[in-house]
Amino acid sequence: MSSHAITVTINGRVYRATVPARMTLVDFLRDELRLTGTHVGCEHGVCGACSIMFEGRPIRSCLMFAAQADGASITTVEGLAPEPGGLSVLQDSFWETHALQCGYCTPGMLIAAHALLMRIPNPTDEEIREAISGNLCRCTGYKQIVDAVKLAAERLSGKNQNG
């Protein structure tokens, strides 16, 4: 099996590594770089827990090989927080509205919602549900997640200064 030298920029930091051809990007992030914020669930593109930002767009990192990411710029859930230990407005909104229970889907949900808010600052419920349609949650019934994204949108646009 071939192995490949790659250079990847993740959350602003440059990483260099040599990876076997069959290593998926999510396994590279978690097992090689110990960036375990990105979760891995189904490993075949169904659950969405492994969602990351790849070249500015949300993708699932279990459906790419690390060798394919050479030269790419990636943001993982670790890159959403403003500083270590802090929470982004979106993350804080998830906390505020009880948008997680077990937390397994949360990194993927945050990435999907983050990508949506970058594209559409004030999304409708319909647009939020479409944006998270590739992310399974078995706890919340999705209602609180939709509420969290709406709350984050309000806070980010300055309509809600209290929360």
Partner: protein
């Protein structure tokens, strides 16, 4: 689940692709978006010795749209097709279908040609290719060929492409005149695979009479199919409810759906007829508007 071992090569251009495919004794697989192939690899349903990455090849990407047709480089991302103004204007049926292909994360990687080449029976893009009689271009070291969509799919996950060929382009013809489109699908969950999907495009004359119609059904049989008998019965009518219902009796008789854990053949047949009625009506209304 982890893929079996394979070699990976990023092709610099099409000649590089052909060289790599020719050297792999039929055991190579092309990867573009990977949204169908990677699940097959990690479940070990596919075990190629070589995976050839075509993502960096500029000539395989891009959209050209005009009044006669919309042409995609095979590795054009589904999201780029969905957002292209030329696709909305000249291939509105494809745009409606693209909005239901997977979900945002898979559309951002998945490609137009990859969906065709992997030929999932539930895939929307293959259904539109079959419905609109798309022309598919494949190339190899031996040269190129054009393949009509009705001769392209040979079974579930199977096409006429050889292991040495690379799908390079697909062209969706544009119909002249007053045209309307409709697309509907039924799935267990939003963004999940379609149990049945139906696509319809109609053209009507000034009197509102149907002069041309294409009605395609996906997800029901191993390959996307056309409801040819129903199409013939609808040409020359004004596509009123009675015309539609009469024509769809033939669809219920001729469609031969799959039965699996998700839905029985009978259920798929009934859903196909209902969705067909809706898509014809919405295509008609759009053409009249």
């Amino acid at each position: 689940m982890k893929a079996a071992e394979f070699d990976y090569a990023r092709a610099a251009d099409l000649d590089d692709v052909f060289r790599l495919l020719d050297g792999a004794q039929g055991e190579a697989k092309i990867i573009a978006g990977g949204q169908t192939l990677v699940p097959l690899l990690v479940m070990r349903l596919a075990r190629p010795t070589l995976v050839v990455d075509i993502n960096g090849i500029a000539e395989l990407s891009g959209i050209a749209a005009d009044e006669t047709g919309v042409t995609f480089g095979a590795a054009t991302r589904q999201i780029d097709a969905l957002e292209a103004a030329g696709v909305a204007r000249h291939a509105p049926l494809l745009k409606k279908a693209l909005a239901l292909v997977g979900h945002p994360q898979t559309r951002n990687r998945g490609t137009i040609g990859g969906s065709l080449a992997n030929a999932d029976p539930a895939a929307e893009i293959g259904l539109i290719a079959r419905t609109l009689d798309a022309e598919i271009e494949a190339r190899s070291s031996a040269g190129g060929r054009q393949i009509a969509a009705d001769a392209f799919f040979t079974g579930a996950m199977s096409t006429v492409l050889s292991a040495e060929e690379c799908l390079t382009k697909v062209r969706f013809p544009v119909w002249p005149g007053r045209v309307g489109t409709g697309f509907e699908e039924m799935s267990n969950r939003r963004s999940d695979f379609a149990l049945v999907a139906v696509a319809c495009q109609v053209a009507i004359d000034k009197a509102g009479v149907c002069t041309r119609i294409a009605l395609g059904v996906g997800g029901a049989e191993p390959v996307p199919v056309r409801a040819s008998d129903a199409e013939k019965r609808l040409i020359g009518t004004r596509l009123e409810s009675a015309d539609i219902n009469a024509a769809l009796n033939t669809l219920a008789e001729t469609l031969d759906p799959l039965s699996d854990v998700h839905a029985s053949a009978d259920y798929r047949r009934r859903v196909a007829v209902h969705l067909a009625a809706r898509t014809i009506a919405s295509a008609r209304d759009e053409a009249r508007a």
